[in-house]
Amino acid sequence: MPRDGSAPTEEFEGQETERKRRPEQDGFAHSLSPVDLPEPSAPLPHGLRWTTTAIACASLVLALLNAPAVRSWSYQLPPSTASARVVSGAEAWYGIVGRAGLNRPVEAMHGWWQAARDMRFHDDARTRPDQASPDAG
């Protein structure tokens, strides 16, 4: 490092030509972070309110349509009185949304994906290593 404590002026081999080469073809190339977007042409107010509403809606959608994941997660909690309550709550919720048919989309998608995973290049009834059942010889 420089003895005078000044900033190093040279470039690492792996970085040398980046700044020279960068084409600056649009407003993103100057950004220090990927989350920096160019200013909008018209102001977009209430950032916090907008974000909170979006997060709340996403959580609601997931709570309604992904009850199987909530139920599965609850069974993985370390056993305790509190987790037993979480499990019974998750089971009750799974039942409520299940009666409304809301578990069907995620279960159907999971089934399609599973079928795609099971496709093989050749006729082979063999099971993939990560799918082997524990009691298989």
Binding site: M1, S31, L32, L37, C57, A58, F121, R126, P129
Partner: protein, 472 residues
Amino acid sequence: MLFPTLTFGIFFLLLYAGAWLLRGSNEWRKILLLVASWIFYGWWDTRFVLLLIVSGLLNWGIARLILAADGAPRLRKAWLGLGVAANLAILGFFKYYGFFMVQLEEMLHLLGWQRDLAIMQVVLPVGISFFTFQGMSYIIDVYRRQTAPAALLDMTLLMSFFPHLVAGPIVRASHLVPQFERVPKLTRGMAAMGISLIVWGLFKKAVIASELATGLVDPVFFDPSAHGSLDLIAAAYGYAVQIYCDFSAYSDMAMGIAALLGYRFPHNFNQPYRAASLQDFWRRWHISLSSWLRDYLYVSLGGSRHGLRRLCFSLTATMLLGGLWHGASWNFVIWGALHGSVLVAERLWREYKPRTWPPLPLWAGIFVTFHIVLLGWIFFRAATFDTATAFLSGIFGGGSPVSPTLVLTPMLLGLILLGMLFHFMPRFAIQRVGMRVRALPAPLIGAGAGLLILVVDAMRPEGVAPFIYYQF
């Protein structure tokens, strides 16, 4: 606590609410973020929270001592040396103690010493390489007068801030501490990018990286000799895609989570397999580490200031140490040596190539560079040197291309191709998505994000494997 889990989702929702409710007081907001970061870290092992606190205090204290010694250059340098040595001692003990003791024992056996050494089993704290590098960069920057000294709370939060704590990006004090000095403002653009990066990262990690790991890479690398060359080649390409999707997904989610809390992290990946030279690769892969190595190691070793020979030495040494940073294993040293020697070869080629020779076509540069990187990944992924050589002899040894237990499936092949395709998307595609997202109504974006997460959840294998870079 892993990002793509419901436990983390609940943790984040509570923290998001708390952090923005406390926006009236920046100090209390930062205290909340600090305590939350310790809870996040303590989820693995509470003992190491103390290490994190001690490391933060150490670097803050050393920076204060460097400042207090202003006007006494030797004393400043001595404090810096002590600080760097203390950080390296922490890293060395937890990460390299076992490795070096085993090497020492083997050497003593060769010299005729027959007794075994009593070697402690040291548990590796998650993310120790990242937070010690962060601490070192802070004291070096203070010494170089490139960053203003941080308050104790800011310094501790810088090192402990949970989005980057365990697997980067390595965020420097000059980038993050100024952001800690006031309550951040959350714009719709930041939030839109945050949501987009989280969903995108979730897809890359939970679907592509996890599926390739469990279905192809792990079983083939576990025992290469049991597989035909087709599976071995697919596993090598699969690992290249897996490690990119896994690590860049972590960076994307870290940036997205930080953005929703109001903070900006720097770029860490830029379509690395599109690189036309290894020099170009290191501008695109793990950018925060490569710039760290450049500023604090390569420059300190002499860099390009003392002629070509010294430059070649600095490059090789930087890459060897960069390899060793990933872990105490000869395979990482080989990986670093491969990258270092190819970087040196590229530099010499640029220096001595006859001017009349045409440059390599771009496509050929990309092809050759990618396959050098791929060769490095085989050593990087293999558990031992013998496994790596068995893997390579399985590919090049002329055995049967297809074994009776073919692991490659149409879906795994499709995921490898998809992961490669990401490198040929427009560079700022995700930012363009973010610009569209920020202009749409929040309920629509929330519902859309929820549905996309639902699709990802339906596609991913059971359970979530830790991110690859957690082990470093």
